[in-house]
């Protein structure tokens, strides 16, 4: 089997990414039903999104506005006239048995997104070209009950929830991305992350990968170097986190290489990413391309945004993330290397939010890049996905600054919050964490330590200051780590002077 380095030597990877974003509109794409996540099944439905006979779709203006904003942020051309189309196929969770989508006349085309990535040779910018951004409606959800796999085949029965049916989706499709070399998995991840930051900054979606409001299908193929022909691609679905984007592509590159090395061909198919094993398994084969019989949706008029409206929206665009980052770096006085580390760890936005909550920029950066990154690594999740908020971190930083927590205690609080024990104050209360600042209590503990180790105490009195460490350690142990070590040292040296 080839190593990763050998794969890159022999083959050139080609990437293609399709990202689906659920828009954060209050109502669905083609009716007035609410879009809130997590409601009782089939309570957010009406004749339109249930596909009742006679019901007709009507377009949510806000969804069009959000899509144009996305297109503009991705440097796309906005079509003066685009059309909805019907994608026809039968599936129980699709109420009309066709999905209203866009086909050959999407609303946004030909854009790009620049992705920065720190390689060993330094920070590099990769331009990911965007082929199209189009609108469509989401389907309902099927829950297959019984059977071993949780898949439709072998299930005893299936439950259908149409709450999600008709929620506005935007699909962002890249052109084939070449030239990422060995960084293909990392660039893919960086692209999705950058896209997520942009979407968040635009305020058009809550972009929660774990709730499915941002979903990524990763296409990858390998072609023998110098062949000039693209290889057969596979499309991996069910990639539910940024980390999974990288893992899925890496795994697929290995699988493709293995097949090609063995003289087998790669089958064009849909694959599903398996979170636990980090590999993909075969879904349905696309060898016999499904015929969706697309045709223009006759129930809806073409979308024809006026040039004035587009310019109005363009003026509303927030600062581009890259420009924004450059500004922050200057404002916070962050060295280049540190900034690159923050970008690669995807914490710039979180640090910024923490600063916005009143924290010192350097402290905020240290927490997110240090302790929280370490814990994220342990859990194998992205820092951004850790269950601790910028507000929590800012609060903890403030408590340290006020002398109510030591750095060591603060780490315990962070750990507690991440472990789901509650907000910082709750963790502090529940764990009984507090800085022992009562001098009388400290002095008593110091005296107990001196009494227990009289010889050590004498060494200190004789001027062997480093020997004080053992005594300080004993005091900290006595106070269960809740004393401020610096203060203990001060008091101890005073007593033994």
């Amino acid at each position: 089997m080839l190593t990763y380095e050998q794969i890159i030597e022999k083959y050139e990877p080609a990437l293609g990414l399709e990202v689906h974003v659920e828009l954060g509109t209050k109502t669905k794409m083609f009716c007035g039903c609410p879009t809130e996540f997590g409601a009782e099944p089939n309570t957010q439905v009406c004749p339109v999104c249930l596909g009742m006979p006679g019901a007709l779709p009507f377009v949510n203006e806000r969804a069009i506005e959000s899509t144009i904003l996305i297109g503009l942020a991705l440097n796309c051309s906005i079509a003066p006239m685009s059309r909805f189309a019907r994608k026809n196929y039968f599936y129980p969770d699709m109420p009309k048995n066709f999905q209203i989508s866009q086909y050959d006349e999407p609303i946004c085309t030909d854009g790009y997104l620049d992705v920065e990535y720190e390689t060993p040779e330094g920070m590099k910018t990769f331009r990911i070209e965007i082929e199209r951004v189009h609108m469509e409606e989401d389907t309902g959800k099927s829950l297959h009950v019984g059977g071993a796999t949780g898949r439709i085949h072998g299930a005893e029965y299936s439950l259908l929830d149409y709450n999600r049916a008709g929620i506005p989706l935007v699909e962002i499709v890249t052109k084939t991305v070449l030239g990422t070399e060995g960084y293909a998995p990392q660039i893919a991840k960086a692209y999705v992350k950058e896209l997520r930051d942009i979407l968040r900054a635009l305020g058009v979606s809550d972009v929660k990968m774990e709730q499915g409001s941002l979903r990524c299908d990763a296409n990858i193929s390998l072609s023998p170097r110098g062949s000039g022909i693209l290889g057969t691609r596979s499309e991996t679905k069910n990639v539910n986190s940024l980390r999974s984007v990288e893992r899925a592509i890496t795994s697929e590159m290995h699988r493709h290489a293995q097949r090609l090395e063995a003289g087998e061909r790669v089958v064009q198919e849909t694959r599903h990413f398996q979170e636990d094993s980090g590999t993909t398994r075969s879904g349905r084969s696309k060898e016999q391309a499904e015929d969706y019989r697309y045709f223009p949706e006759p129930d809806l008029l073409p979308v024809a945004p006026s040039a004035e409206w587009i310019e109005e929206l363009r003026a509303q665009l927030p600062e581009r993330p890259s420009a924004h980052r450059a500004r922050l770096q200057q404002l916070w006085q962050v060295p280049d290397k540190e900034m690159a580390a923050m970008i690669n760890a995807g914490v710039v936005g979180i640090v910024e939010e923490t600063v916005a909550q009143g924290a010192d920029p350097t402290k905020a950066r240290t927490w997110w890049l240090g302790e929280i990154s370490r814990l994220a690594n342990e859990r194998e999740v992205e820092v951004a996905e850790m269950p601790i908020t910028p507000k929590d971190v800012a609060e903890i930083i403030a408590l340290v600054a006020a002398g109510e927590l030591t750095d060591k205690l603060a780490r315990q609080v962070v750990e507690g919050v991440i472990a789901g024990e509650g907000k910082p104050k709750e963790v502090i209360a529940a764990r009984g964490i507090k800085v022992v600042s009562d001098e009388g209590e400290l002095v008593a503990a110091i005296e107990r330590a001196i009494a227990a180790q009289p010889e050590t105490a004498q060494k200190v009195r004789d001027g062997n200051i480093p020997a004080a460490g053992a005594l300080i350690g004993a005091v900290m142990k006595d106070t269960k780590g809740q004393a401020d070590a610096a203060r203990v040292r001060e008091l101890l040296l005073g007593l033994l002077a």
């Binding site: 004749p47 006679g54 109420p95 019989r293």
Partner: protein
């Protein structure tokens, strides 16, 4: 027998307003007539006796309180079973929807209710509006009141027959390729296909979305106009509905004046294939219009020859997609769900059992026309023909105010005569289809009888000029009625309870 059933909606409106008669009496008279003759005619699939009387009582109570009521308040109406009416069985003529009671009402139904119109029940139709005879209804054929051995036209044969059998003075139809006008023609009644987008399609079970249009049906031009005004107008729930004021159709029907108007006779919709009786009545009507001061000229619309072919690609294509939702999952028929079969199998068995032959034929046709590799040749070409036909109309309307033709090539044919020859059946709509393809407005009104059976005269107006249909139609109707001693339906056989059955 109550004379109330022979009155026009306009006459009933006047009597109701003067409180000479109550809405309950009017409604009861029509319910009685349905009881008496519908076994023979079979115009209705469902009669809402209680609901209709309750609506009538509401109107009477409102009138007693001196509330300001619309002109049609208390006037009964027959509703084509293609429109969803909350809580009322709605089948669209198909087994696949048997037992379905919609949880909502079509916009047109809401407008009718708001206007105080009393909905008597749902009328028979070809399954999913696919047909020209009602023989494709899953619930039996409707008989033509003029001759119970003949078809009443289709798909809206039930609505037209209800008018001709005096079961209702007003009816709602839907017209995708002629389903209002062809039944009107063969039953001696009046039917209008409004401009596409003039009347909301929300709640109208879709056959071919880009062609479907709901419209008014009655026995007189004025009644049709009164109903048109109630149901028309913009609807936020239908993205294709036009956001502009409804043309002044009632005023136009009252003006009934063609002096100085230019009328174009469509060359391609005459001659071969048109029965001589049909052509004679058509010529006589032209003569009347000329005598009333209109100028008549011949107009050529060369692309109309491809209309039928284009229609039978576009309509089935859209239908194949529109009818995909009937899958047993959420409503209607479910076959084979015994716990041993997959959802796909149940879907497939339900569709096999629930759809009739013609519906399946069009689904297969449409699926094929849209499929990869054939799309451009079939659906794509058909759309081009559609554009050419629209251009033919535009060119014609640059020189004339309205266009005219016979509505159908023949009078009502015997039941069963064409049921094994789909293409012969499709030809019934050769003169009506171009109108749908271009989205313009058209009316069919009676031009007289040929061998005892009604002949229809078609008037076509540009989009959003629906008022011209009524202006010309009312003028022609006035002159013909003067000749006949009343509108054509006055000559319709008075059916007895034993008739035909």
């Amino acid at each position: 027998m109550s004379e109330l059933i022979y009155k026009s909606a306009a006459q009933l409106s006047e009597s109701l307003a003067k409180k000479e008669v109550s809405a309950r009496e009017v409604t009861q008279a029509h319910l009685d007539q349905i009881t008496k003759v519908d076994q023979a005619v079979h115009a209705f699939l469902f009669v809402d006796t209680e609901g209709a009387l309750a609506q009538a009582d509401q109107v009477d109570a409102a009138r007693a309180k001196g509330e300001n009521l619309g002109p049609l308040a208390g006037v009964p109406l027959a509703l084509k079973d293609i429109l969803a009416q909350e809580g009322i069985p709605t089948t669209c003529g198909s087994k696949i929807l048997e037992g379905w009671r919609p949880p909502y009402s079509a916009t047109v139904v809401k407008k009718l209710r708001a206007a105080g119109v009393v909905i008597l029940g749902k009328t028979n139709m070809d399954e999913f509006a696919m047909g020209s005879s009602t023989e494709n209804s899953a619930f039996g054929t409707t008989q033509n009141p003029w001759d119970l051995t003949r078809i009443p036209g289709g798909s809206g044969g039930g609505s037209a027959a209800a008018l001709a059998a005096f079961e209702a003075p007003l009816a709602i139809g839907s017209d995708t390729g002629g389903s209002i006008r062809q039944p009107a023609a063969v039953t001696g009644t009046v039917g209008v296909k409004p401009t596409y987008g003039g009347v909301s399609r929300y709640g109208v079970i879709a056959y071919s979305s880009s062609l479907d249009q709901v419209g008014p049906c009655a026995r007189t031009v004025l009644d049709t106009a009164l109903l048109h005004e109630v149901i028309a107008g913009h609807d936020d729930y239908d993205a294709t509905s036009i956001n502009a004021p409804t043309p002044p159709v009632v005023a136009a029907a009252k003006r009934a004046d063609v002096k100085g108007m230019k009328i174009g006779v469509i060359k391609e919709l005459s001659g071969d294939g048109y029965e001589s009786g049909v052509s004679e009545r058509f010529e006589e009507s032209l003569e009347i219009l000329r005598s009333q001061g209109a100028t008549i000229e011949m107009v050529s619309c060369p692309n109309f020859d491809y209309g039928l072919a284009a229609y039978y690609l576009i309509a089935p294509s859209e239908a194949s997609s529109n009818l995909a939702r009937f899958d047993a999952m959420r409503y209607g028929l479910r076959v084979g769900d015994d716990g041993s079969r997959s959802a796909e199998e149940v879907m497939s068995m339900t569709r096999a059992a629930g759809f009739g032959r013609e519906v399946k034929r069009r689904i297969v046709l449409g699926t094929y026309a849209l499929s990869a590799g054939y799309y451009d040749a079939y659906y794509g070409s058909a759309q081009k023909v559609r554009t050419l036909i629209t251009q033919d109309f535009a060119k014609a309307f640059s020189s004339v105010d309205v266009l005219v033709s016979p509505t159908t090539p023949t009078v009502a044919f015997p039941i069963g005569a064409k049921s094994n020859d789909p293409v012969a059946m499709y030809l019934s709509d050769v003169a009506t289809i171009p109108v749908n393809l271009a989205g313009v407005a058209a009316m069919s009104l009676p031009a007289g009888l040929s061998e005892g059976l009604p002949v229809g005269f078609q008037i076509i107006a540009p989009a959003m000029k629906d008022d011209r249909l009524y202006q010309v139609g009312a003028a022609l109707e006035r002159e013909l009625a003067a000749k006949w001693g009343g509108v054509l339906t006055t000559k319709a056989p008075k059916l007895s309870s034993s008739a035909g059955a």
